[in-house]
């Protein structure tokens, strides 16, 4: 293949991927506006929607991909079905935080606006069009920027996933193209392909999102100015400064929830919300947590009921499947947490260095931000090739992918939260000569803990997301499916294999177990930990 046609092909492939992304973004925004406004204007809807959205955004939805593919291909003819599945999947990664953005923007609108609408006898549709949507648009754009980068990870991973399943192949896309280049040994073109991918990421930020931001924030330019997180001197770094925000989104949610626990006001104290600027937020928090508890209970009950039903109907196979799912889950859990431990061991000292010691933080940040814009799974083909021939190479591959999928979230979360550490704390450290062991004990570990916790939630979710390709990776050749890399046992592998063999019962059982485990860990470990920390830190 000559260079020109190679470039043309790679650009076309990336464009195909980007079309999926734009379709998903468009759908996500439509969905978010509808759901967000509904939740913000109806109390009943609010109580159901908020907890559900809160749970969905912490679930590793990529793990549902084999299931989603199965359903879509079952419903729609081949190529349309697979693309619909990919777009649906990206929507499920993008929509949650945009829904929250719309909801919050509408919820904090002053009551006068509603009174104004009453005064002029506006219809519901007019209210939505003239008041709610314009009020929500700045937040929609802001959240879309975050959603885009989450979506990229899903896009690439689902494309990479699809190449090993002849029945479910995406065919065109940057993830597919890069994997093919790597496996045909064309490493130079592979590297160029990644460069093209990064160029698309940067161009999208500058040429698509930046103008949108400017357009929709022209009413509050001042607050736009005050939002500078870091002193980013570089234009390019500015374009990437959404990355810290990305990890701040779940932090905000956790904060809202823990703030509620501390608030003594009973729920519903702010019926007359709009009249007092401070009150509606309180109301939001109250509702969120109350509904959340109910939602958790509901989901747990549902999981149990479905499991029981399945056991009754299909005994004894289901018991065997449940056993298989639990063992796989336990092994993947160990694998993912081992990688997580490695992430902490590396990311934490790096963060301490960047935040407390380095004098060139901004230059390092730029470097990290560009690196982090590459979804780790795009490197999977090259990692598989590089590790081929080593003992335990499949385990190593999984470890490296898990590590690369999660580490950036920790680094960015910690750095983002460090901007709220007051400058005086750095001065206290210098003034009283706090160094070495005491500095780690009294300053570093404590100051960075909130960011570490919120980063951990997203990092581990990213690892689970990557598990469907990291644990089991196949390609399709003339002779059929080649298993390139496969761990012995793992939930990601189980999901993939059950798709391959069309064992939908096993797949559902595996997903139920995974979902229950994630909810339990988030509720009993991370949320608790965060609450404990944030209570003393305020």
């Amino acid at each position: 293949m000559d260079f020109i046609s190679f470039i043309a092909l790679i650009v076309l492939d990336t464009t195909a991927s980007w079309l999926r992304m734009f379709a998903a973004l468009f759908l996500s925004i439509l969905l978010s506006i509808a759901v967000g406004i509904y939740a913000a204007t109806s109390r009943k809807a609010e109580r159901i929607i908020l907890p559900v959205v809160d749970i969905f955004q912490t679930l590793p939805i990529l793990a549902f991909f084999p299931f989603v593919i199965y359903i879509f291909v079952f419903l729609l003819p081949g190529y349309i079905g697979i693309n619909a599945a990919v777009i649906f999947l990206i929507v499920t990664s993008m929509a949650w935080n945009i829904i929250f953005g719309v909801y919050e923007a509408v919820k904090v609108l002053p009551n006068e606006f509603v009174e104004l609408a009453d005064l002029y006898d506006m219809s519901s549709w007019q209210r939505v069009r003239k008041i709610f949507i314009p009020a929500a648009m700045p937040r929609v754009v802001e959240q879309s920027v975050l959603s885009w980068s989450i979506g990229l990870f899903y896009l690439v991973t689902s494309e990479i996933f699809s190449i090993g399943n002849a029945n479910y192949a995406v065919k065109y896309g940057i993830g597919v193209a890069l994997a093919q280049l790597a496996f045909s040994g064309n490493y130079l073109y592979y590297a160029i392909g990644i460069a093209v991918f990064i160029a698309f990421v940067v161009a999208t930020r500058f040429l698509f999102f930046r103008p949108l931001e400017l357009h929709f924030t022209k009413y509050n330019r001042v607050s736009e100015e005050s939002k500078k997180h870091f002193a980013l001197h570089f234009g390019i770094a500015k374009a990437f400064n959404y990355l810290p925000k990305l990890v701040r989104a779940p932090a905000k949610r956790l904060r809202a929830i823990s703030a509620f626990r501390r608030a003594r006001h009973p729920a519903g104290a702010s019926r007359n919300a709009g009249a007092h600027a401070a009150l509606p937020r309180e109301g939001i928090k109250n509702l969120k947590i109350k509904g959340l508890k109910k939602g958790l209970g509901g989901i747990a009950a549902l999981v149990l009921a479905m499991l029981l039903l399945a056991v009754v109907l299909r005994y004894p196979v289901v018991v065997h499947y449940e056993y298989e799912a639990l063992v796989s889950l336990a092994v993947s859990f160990a694998r993912i947490w081992l990688a997580f431990a490695a992430i902490l061991a590396i990311a934490f000292p790096v963060c301490v260095y960047l935040i407390f010691i380095s004098k060139h933080r901004n230059s390092y940040l730029l470097f990290f931000q560009v690196i982090a814009s590459i979804p780790a799974t795009i490197l999977l083909p090259i990692i598989v090739i590089a590790l081929k021939g080593y003992a335990l190479h499949s385990e190593l591959t999984a470890f490296v992918i898990f590590f690369l999928s999660g580490i950036w979230y920790i680094i960015f979360s910690v750095i983002a939260s460090s901007t709220s550490i007051s400058g005086e704390i750095f001065e206290v450290k210098r003034l009283f000569g706090i160094k070495g062991k005491s500095a780690w004990k009294y300053i570093y570990s404590r100051a960075l803990l909130p960011g570490l916790i919120t980063g951990s939630v997203t990092a581990i979710a990213a690892e689970w997301n990557a598990s469907i390709v990291a644990e089991y990776f196949t390609t399709t050749g003339i002779s059929g499916t080649n298993v390139v890399s496969s761990v012995s046992v793992g939930i990601g592998k189980l999901l993939d294999v059950s798709l391959g063999s069309g064992n939908i019962t096993l797949m559902i059982i595996a997903l139920l177990n995974l979902t229950a485990m994630i909810i339990i860990v988030n509720t009993f470990l991370w949320k608790r930990l965060y609450r404990k920390v944030s209570n003393t830190y305020k």
């Binding site: 005086e424 003034l431 005491s438 003393t536």
Partner: protein, 251 residues
């Protein structure tokens, strides 16, 4: 009153991005043993920056800070600092926060705890020693901040608008306590340099007021105050002194 404890000579400061625009322009003054010096000037004139240079928290572009005849290059245990917004570490209890003041001392953990507890008691805070700072009012937080600053027996205390984050009544009470404590002989602090933008406050507690001008910041005048303590804000001499400082500031 003749021994010079801290001296600054020709301090020049400007920000990295505009080195030609001087924030501080050749500032020189002395603080003598037992003296309470106030630096007063318009908002944004760089008073707090100057104080941080005295503590060597930031380096000046040029000029020297001399402590007891020796040039300073880094923060020293002998010179302590009270922050405007308290700067307590929110994740440490009040007692642990005071112990931070002793982080650099070569005394045993037991001894540190004993000293820190004693200092909290002196500030009337023994009952909240095991609470976190977020449980305290602003006035109490600043008491913890002051306890942390003096627990290591420093010689010089630098205070950056220590009462300006507090409401009027709390500020008055704490100011009174701080003055009587600093004037008493049972603590080690000899000299105090305080930054303020409150003229009455400066006249109430200072032996010397250094009046700064803006853009670039230079010393306009030094003013000695020879009034006895405690000072009555409504006395004629007090009001005359206040008027004089205002006149210098606006001139």
């Amino acid at each position: 009153m003749s021994e010079v404890v801290l001296e600054v000579r020709d301090i020049v400061f400007s920000y990295d991005d505009s080195p030609s625009q001087r924030i501080l322009d050749k500032i020189s003054f002395k603080a003598q043993k037992g003296e309470f010096v106030s630096l007063i000037g318009p908002s944004g004139c760089g008073k707090s920056t100057l104080l941080r240079i005295l503590a060597r928290l930031i380096p000046p572009v040029s000029g020297e800070v001399i402590y007891k005849g020796k040039r300073l290059y880094a923060p020293t245990r002998e010179i302590s600092f009270v922050f405007q917004d308290f700067a307590l570490l929110p994740w440490l209890t009040n007692l642990e926060n005071v112990k931070i003041g002793l982080a650099n001392s070569e005394i045993s953990e037991e001894e540190k705890k004993r000293k820190a507890s004693g200092m909290l008691e002196k500030m009337g805070l023994e009952s909240v020693a095991d609470y976190y700072p977020n449980a305290l009012s602003g006035g109490m937080k600043q008491r913890v901040g002051i306890a942390r600053a003096i627990v290591s027996d420093p010689n010089v205390l630098l205070m950056d608008e220590p009462f300006s984050s507090l409401d009027e009544l709390t500020a008055n009470a704490l100011r009174g306590d701080v003055v009587s404590m600093l004037k008493s002989s049972d603590i080690s602090v000899n000299s105090v340099i305080m930054v303020t933008h409150n003229v009455e406050e400066a006249v109430e507690i200072s032996d010397k007021i250094v009046v700064l001008s803006n853009k670039p910041t230079k010393i306009k005048q030094e003013m000695q105050l020879k009034l006895s303590y405690p000072r009555n804000r409504h006395s004629k001499v007090f009001m005359q002194a206040v008027d004089k400082v205002y006149e210098l500031l606006t001139k």
